[in-house]
């Protein structure tokens, strides 16, 4: 079934450790996104990629980095995790970078202790 796959589903991470959240889509979508969801704050954009080889910063990019080496994969890296990065992370994709329907993965629940 076509869609977006995120891994891991959940993770408990010690503060200061490095962590990469994986995201893969098989819909050949050009645009991909990372959001975090926190209670009472809705979903906020961390980073995005309009097409393979390009990335951009969203609303809350600090402490996170991304890469887009190919169309299918868009990993999100926390270089040195802090407790404020405890959140649910969603990866999404859309056919193009503006005005097309976005589809979301199942989410990764990350707890930094």
């Amino acid at each position: 079934i076509a869609g977006i796959t995120q891994a891991p589903t959940s993770q408990i991470l010690a503060a200061g450790r490095r962590m990469t959240l994986r995201c893969t889509q098989d819909m050949r979508h050009n645009a991909m996104y990372w959001y975090r969801q926190d209670l009472g704050l809705g979903l906020r954009l961390i980073h995005y990629s309009n097409t393979a080889g390009t990335t951009g910063k969203g609303e809350v990019p600090d402490g996170y980095s991304v890469s887009r080496a190919n169309t299918d994969d868009f990993p999100l890296t926390l270089a040195s995790a802090v407790p404020s990065q405890t959140s649910v992370y969603f990866c999404a994709s859309s056919a193009t970078w503006g005005g097309t329907e976005a589809f979301f993965g199942q989410g990764t629940r990350l707890t930094v202790v």
């Binding site: 996104y33 959001y35 009472g40 704050l41 809705g42 979903l43 906020r44 954009l45 995005y48 969203g58 609303e59 649910v88 969603f90 999404a92 970078w97 503006g98 005005g99 097309t100 329907e101 976005a102 589809f103 979301f104 199942q106 989410g107 629940r109």
Partner: protein, 108 residues
Amino acid sequence: GIQVEQSPPDLILQEGANSTLRCNFSDSVNNLQWFHQNPWGQLINLFYIPSGTKQNGRLSATTVATERYSLLYISSSQTTDSGVYFCAVERGNEKLTFGTGTRLTIIP
């Protein structure tokens, strides 16, 4: 950036009731989507509706782009409709911006 406001923030209904959820946005948009986040946290696409009206079973949505609002109608509510409903909009080169959601609870 664009502002997205959803109302009401919380809604509790008896099974079988109808409901209307509202999304107001502060500027013209080229994309508007409604999502249902189920109790397991999954975000389910309901409608891609930058303008006009669409229907899917018991759910329908209307976006009046010129007046900057969208409505989601749920008829004959079922307990499986419970969860949080999000409206999200996109304007120009800006990425999808979410409202803070409406939490719907359907009581048997």
